[in-house]
Amino acid sequence: MPLIGIACNPQSGKDIRRLLTAATTIDDMEKLNILERILLSAAAVGEQSVCLMPDRLGYGRLLLQKRNSRGYPGDLSQLEIYDMDRTETQADTIFFASEMERIGADVLIVMGGDGTSRAAAKGTRRVPMISMSTGTNNVYPELMEGTVAGMAAAALAGGMVPAAECASPAKCIEIWKNGTLVDLALIDLVFCRNPFVGSRAIWNYEEIDQVVVTQCSMASIGFSSLVGTALRVTREEDCGASAEFTDGAPNTLAPVGAGTIQGVHIQNVRRLPLGERVTRTMTYQGTLALDGEREIFFQPGDVITCAVTRGGPMRVDAARAIEYARTHGCFQL
């Protein structure tokens, strides 16, 4: 039986940046609706079982309630809630993704922003992953209708599309602190002058020191777009980029966050070939923010090393998957 795993992050799209800007809010009920659409369309395309990551709200429980309610017109019979201990932190997503790899899931759907996809990537880099954006900064995931994600996942899981046709390893930034590999980021790594993890999000852009990215474009928001003001690196290109920011006179406008465009002073912009290690000995107290969230505290004297590699998760191009299945007659009745 084909197996689809779904990790839906209940925390995504809800953080403090909503207070400062008009960032999108995706509430629980909307996520529930998206999940329902994924399940309905996947079931219509083929037979499969679906494992859903458990969470505090119980998206799965609510969906099962719906399925069991009288006169429900759809079919959610494939749904199962994966049995695991919850910590209600991002550790759940990491663990769930690794479990999906262990039990041989054919495809993993991840709902969240850059941070959620990053957590899933820490769990598995082998299971093909469809990342749907329900977060704040959504450079890695795609804004995708749940129905489409469901179709693509079902086509991939059901063998209508070989994974090699639509999935390829994504880039990531590997990070070492004092010689130990500590973490990875999918889109951006920010050296931040704020020493507190605090509410995790960064909104005070004067605190940004250096940004390293796997891809960047000015036509997106978040920290990658800061670098995107100077050059463009696509998802496919085999390189990353780095830039530094100082409090000098602003020399460019940058779309730094949802609804926020401001002048920044950018310097020392350069492309980073895959695998090239950037090493810095820190001179101040600060944090490393990974895909938008302050995560790792560092002290003066700590040595931080990072490198852009192709060690990211298997990223699925959903449109390509559906197109392949269509041209091979998989949807014909």
Partner: protein, 328 residues
């Protein structure tokens, strides 16, 4: 933004105040020196540590019944005296632990005994500020239980309709008295409801005072320009509903899981401060001792104060400001 040592120490002291004040009440209650119902906020102290420093002299705050950290606003001696039914305390001692208030001078709004009934009054206070073009933001706090009251949703409608300077704070500690949140509502997070009113709603992990302070500063900044906000603090109450509650509704498994997710905020903050080299362990101990002494002194002073008697609370002049016109 990075906070100065002074600011960090203030936050730490407020958290200790919340914890140690609760402890003192427990000790005194066991000695039989206190009567009445007391509600503790053990493991929730980061809330006050992060929130109270954001309250400026123009702002108004309405704590809830588990917020002894909000004492940082008050003269502790007067608060304790008020709590102990002493006439020299706040409100002559008729308010007990949680009806103490001082709208005029401290800008401390009264807690309504009906949990969640006060959202609207506080929104009215924000309305008065707005109508009179006064600076200041109203911060009003309730739990996830109080967040089920219709008044919150009526309030958010008014707040967004009239662009009021108000921040609604919900302490979602996973349980309303004894009922877990999942039995109260289908949403795990209440902040999502705010969007329907065009109010900005976010959830914040409640064990880190820095996270709360950052969120609070952002929320108040928005509220000042007329964008009300709802801030949900996700935390876990590691004590009974009232002092003496055996917590039979809490299973050891859930308690262990929640404790892992919501570790002791004071221990955690102490670790952060030391790791960052802001304070040494000795310094931290010193601050805690300082707070402890302040509390002990306040109780000692309050015990010496004259007691409230029933007669002092009776009479038309206590009920009406104007008693002209005969018998009431």
């Amino acid at each position: 933004m990075a906070y100065s040592k002074e600011q960090l120490v203030e936050m730490y002291k407020i958290m200790q105040k919340a914890r140690l004040f609760d402890k003192k009440i427990a000790t005194e209650s066991k000695k039989g020196k206190l009567v009445g119902m007391f509600h503790f906020g053990t493991n929730q102290e980061a809330l006050e540590g992060g929130l109270m420093p954001c309250i400026g002299p123009d702002d108004y705050i309405k704590p809830y019944h588990r917020n002894h950290g909000c004492l940082s606003l008050c003269d502790m001696k007067l608060y304790v005296a008020g709590m102990l039914e002493r006439t020299t305390g706040y409100n002559m001692g008729i308010g007990g632990d949680y009806h103490q208030q001082d709208i005029r001078d401290l800008h401390l709004l009264p807690i309504d005994g009906l949990i969640g009934a006060d959202w609207l009054y506080d929104t009215g206070v924000a309305m008065a500020l707005k109508l009179q073009n006064k600076p200041g933001v109203v911060v009003t706090i309730n739990g996830d239980g109080g967040a089920q009251m219709g008044g919150l949703y009526e309030s958010m409608n008014f707040a967004s309709l009239f662009d009021l300077p108000i921040v609604y704070v919900i302490v979602n500690n996973g349980v309303a008295m004894t009922t877990p949140t999942e039995k109260e509502c289908k949403c795990s997070e209440i902040s999502g409801r705010a969007a329907g009113f065009n109010v900005k709603g976010v959830s914040v992990w409640g064990q880190d005072p820095i996270a709360i302070r950052e969120a609070m500063e952002a929320a108040m900044e928005g509220a000042r320009r007329g964008e009300p906000a709802l801030l949900e603090i996700m935390t876990y109450r590691k004590c009974g509903h009232y002092f003496g509650d055996p917590r039979e509704y809490e299973t050891p498994e859930r308690d262990a899981r929640m404790t892992e997710k919501y570790p002791d905020p004071i221990v955690r903050f102490e670790k952060v401060l030391q790791e960052m080299g802001v304070c040494t362990e000795e310094e931290l101990k010193g601050y805690a001792k300082e707070v402890k002494n302040e509390i002990a002194e306040a109780f000692e002073w309050a015990y010496q104060q004259p007691r409230l008697t029933g007669n002092m609370t009776k009479g038309a002049d206590k009920i009406f400001s104007n008693t002209e016109g005969g018998k009431l």
